[in-house]
Subunit: 215 residues, 2 copies
Amino acid sequence: MTENTAAAGADSTTSAGPGAPAGTPRRLRADAQRNIDSLLQAAKAVFTTSGVDAPAKEIADQAGVGVGTLYRHFPQRSDLVKSVLQREIDACADAAPALAASHEPGAALTNWLHRYAELVASKPRLAKALHSGDPAFDELPGYFWQRFEPALASLLEAATASGEIRADINPKDLLYAIASLFVPMGDDGVAYSQRMVGLLIDGLRYGAEAGQSRC
Amino acid sequence: MTENTAAAGADSTTSAGPGAPAGTPRRLRADAQRNIDSLLQAAKAVFTTSGVDAPAKEIADQAGVGVGTLYRHFPQRSDLVKSVLQREIDACADAAPALAASHEPGAALTNWLHRYAELVASKPRLAKALHSGDPAFDELPGYFWQRFEPALASLLEAATASGEIRADINPKDLLYAIASLFVPMGDDGVAYSQRMVGLLIDGLRYGAEAGQSRC
DNA sequence: ATAGTTACCGGAAGAGCATTCCACTTCCGT
DNA sequence: ACGGAAGTGGAATGCTCTTCCGGTAACTAT
């Protein structure tokens, strides 16, 4: 994961923001950036163990900062949830080029798809919060596709070019199909869903040799 | 997903001693029953205006009782939510025979379907809480079908017998279809969904004269 | 009808969490 | 090294949930 993480503001980092209204080219101080990282890391851990409604102090303690610092960077709880998800999306999307560089195209693709499935599977509570109708999360689905579609597209392209994968696969469809497999599942069905995803990936291979399979 | 028809029997009368458990349903005192009614009515109102997370005191005040009384009858918040929903389901289901007695079969059917659609449409937040994975609500879907399927079945039967409605309609399918129309909608799309339901109901009529319409 | 026996009511008290505020600390440019 | 500004931490405040118990009103036996 690269250093992204604007807190609530959604700005900062490298871009000076030409479109921004004379706003904040001010770079974040080093300790502030460090604390934000700690908070996001702690929040991710606490969210998975104690749920998204965990006490703020628990997150602050785990990050080794005061609650004031938490509220400074994430005035609303939804800001924290949003940033955690964005960071996870980034981490997963950034893994695509890395895998492409270190594996055969076919292996890179399947590895990444499992990584993606893992991400989708491990966030049932976050996904619920996300679809709760809270307008604070409206931008997340867009970010999701914006990051994942190009990432998968390049992997697919490489695998197709090397002849390991058939050519009639649409990235968005595949992402959506895998995500759908996990929707109805609770905590138990994860293994089942993993098997289904494996089947799906095998299906990708099939067409490469046999031309076109059934629907 | 497979809905389970869980037995929703579970009455509030838990026999205390093994000595005389039979025949002592321990009737509720009159004022207690009155307060429970007030609480359910108030909870319904507050849930729709302030959401399911509204303060307990707000509900107690609106019901004209103390918070102690609320917690006596509904120790858990989910108990209150569950009871409110059951009461609404009951009210809607009980409206079916009443409509059948006071209207032509066709009118009774369409009136009831609109009533049902209204119920489904007005409870997005409650529905969310219901699907939140909390096992406290596991029995509710079963109760839903158990009450509504027979209610609609009798209305459909009468309307079919009088020739106003075609015969190839399955009660459960129709209930599910109407409920589905409201799923993706937020607060704005209610009007749209209502139009779709109207269309659906018109479709029921169509087949009665012309045989079989498009899907 | 009356007195006795409960079940039940109501709100005050205790505990926990979210959020704010500001004196103090740490960083960065000069 | 120094001064100013950005950033920090945690005490303080207010709100809410939940429990508890003295008082009250409803049933019951006579």
